[in-house]
């Protein structure tokens, strides 16, 4: 399927272009609108966890920015990607092309969004945070791993949604809860030591902890956990791709 994709990069580019144009065409400040969601989250959580419940995390809003941006990438890609194939039913039904391109384009658009947001975060970190450090060398790896995970899950979700049309309710609920078992609004220190092992079995937890580690504290993420997570992500993505392959031809018929 990777070969397929490279072969079809024109198609992927065309869908990416469509994604960007649709997202930003009507609004001049398009990119800033997509920042609004994470910023609103930062605001609300800062209010709750520094004014109401006084959680002991230094520079809480900055910490939140570092964790919510990767979370938003994950969340947006999955929720938009879930419905992407069904929304493009007319293409899938009337032309023969690799359907995987559709959810991948959604992931691509959200990835670029995420990268732009990170770019905008950099000056904020330099002024208010710890600035750029050597640990940042791990950042591309984290981004790559996260993209792989997101791509695999989105691909599978998009295909499943064709067959099971109530998946969106399940997914929205699941994501809402999943948000709380990654270290996004709290740091890993808050997880009791004896539970930490199980906690880190969740690849996204490791990744998000990695982001806050690098961006906030300038520490490299734990390499042992990172390697374990890498293996997990490769397996998950591979599994998703296999399942997608099985469903691929039935999609056009069911849509």
């Amino acid at each position: 399927m990777i070969v397929d994709l490279i072969h079809n990069r024109q198609l992927l580019l065309a869908f990416l272009e469509r994604g960007f144009k649709t997202k930003y065409k009507n609004s001049y400040l398009g990119i800033f609108w997509s920042l609004l969601n994470p910023l609103a989250n930062v605001l609300i959580f800062t209010l709750v966890f520094t004014v109401f419940i006084k959680i002991n995390i230094k520079e809480y809003p900055l910490f939140l920015l570092c964790t919510i941006l990767p979370w938003t990438f994950f969340h947006a890609a999955l929720t938009n990607g879930l419905v992407s194939i069904v929304e493009d039913a007319h293409f899938v039904k009337n032309a023969a092309f690799p359907t995987a391109v559709i959810p991948f384009a959604v992931v691509g658009v959200n990835l670029v969004n995420f990268l732009l947001e990170l770019l905008m975060l950099m000056p904020v970190l330099i002024v208010w945070g710890n600035g750029i450090s050597t640990a940042w060398i791990f950042l591309p790896l984290l981004i790559f791993l996260q993209t792989l995970l997101v791509a695999g899950l989105t691909l599978l979700a998009a295909a499943l949604f064709v067959f099971l049309r109530d998946l969106n309710f399940i997914m929205h609920l699941g994501l809402r809860l999943f948000f709380y078992i990654v270290p996004a609004v709290y740091t890993i220190d808050f997880v009791p030591k004896h539970l930490r092992f199980f906690y880190f079995l969740n690849p996204l937890a490791v990744l998000i902890d990695g982001y806050s580690s690098i961006l906030m504290h300038g520490h490299a993420p734990s390499l042992s956990w990172l390697s374990f997570t890498t293996v997990e992500i490769v397996l998950i993505t591979y599994g998703c791709a296999l399942l997608f392959k099985k469903m691929r031809f039935s999609i056009a018929e069911r849509i």
Binding site: Q10, L11, L13, A14, F15, R18, K21, T22, K25, N26, D88, H90, F91, V92, K93, N94, A95, A96, F97, F163, L164, R165, D166, L167, I170, F249, A252, E253
Partner: protein, 249 residues
Amino acid sequence: MPYEPAIRVEELSKEFTVILEPPLTLQKGLYNFVYGKNNSLRLWALREVNFLVSKGEALGIIGANASGKTTLLRIIAGIYQPTRGKIFSSGKIAVSLELGAGFILEFTGRENLYLYGAIFGLTRRDTALKIPQIQEFSELGDFLDAPLRQYSVGMRMRLAFSFAVNFAADILLVDEMLAVGDTAFRRKCLDKLKEVKKQGTTLLLVSHRPEEVAEVCTRAIMLHKGSIHLQGNVSEVLSAYESMQGAVK
């Protein structure tokens, strides 16, 4: 003179599972599983279809509604997989099925053409080279750079068909595309199809209008409830079709 078949269909059968109360959801699926109910129907859309199309030939496919014509085209185009049997085809296939349905209204005609080009395997540069032809054929002129939202339905269909017919594929599958457009445009489309045939493109034309099939095609097959009822020379098949349709009345 040996004819190399451009398309060979062997014992092609296609079965569909139709959900009786769509859409299927996880909730319904679990319910059905627990209570042993089944809300789906399996039906055969095509049964043991066999035919050959030579390179450069134009074959008409006619039949009543739901006889399997569109399913057949979709399988040849690679959109559906056969349940049984095989399909062989050589060369690039361009399909024109419900083509205008995927237009993005916010985009201009030109931008939509680039998207469609990519879907059918053209690079951006290839599509750019074709755009003048398409623009001219569709008679849309400057409208090409206006958002599709501003087009009338007829204009959109003209754009869709102009794209398909100027595609220069080895095999062109057309599904009732000629059902739209005014008489003048339809005449233009028929002439263009004949021209395309002369250039060596193999043509499969599905139509409900016998006069159009007669004009463009040399052979035809008649499908009835998924199997080929008759295959042969265009005039024979068409008169058989017409008498069948007449008999129903």
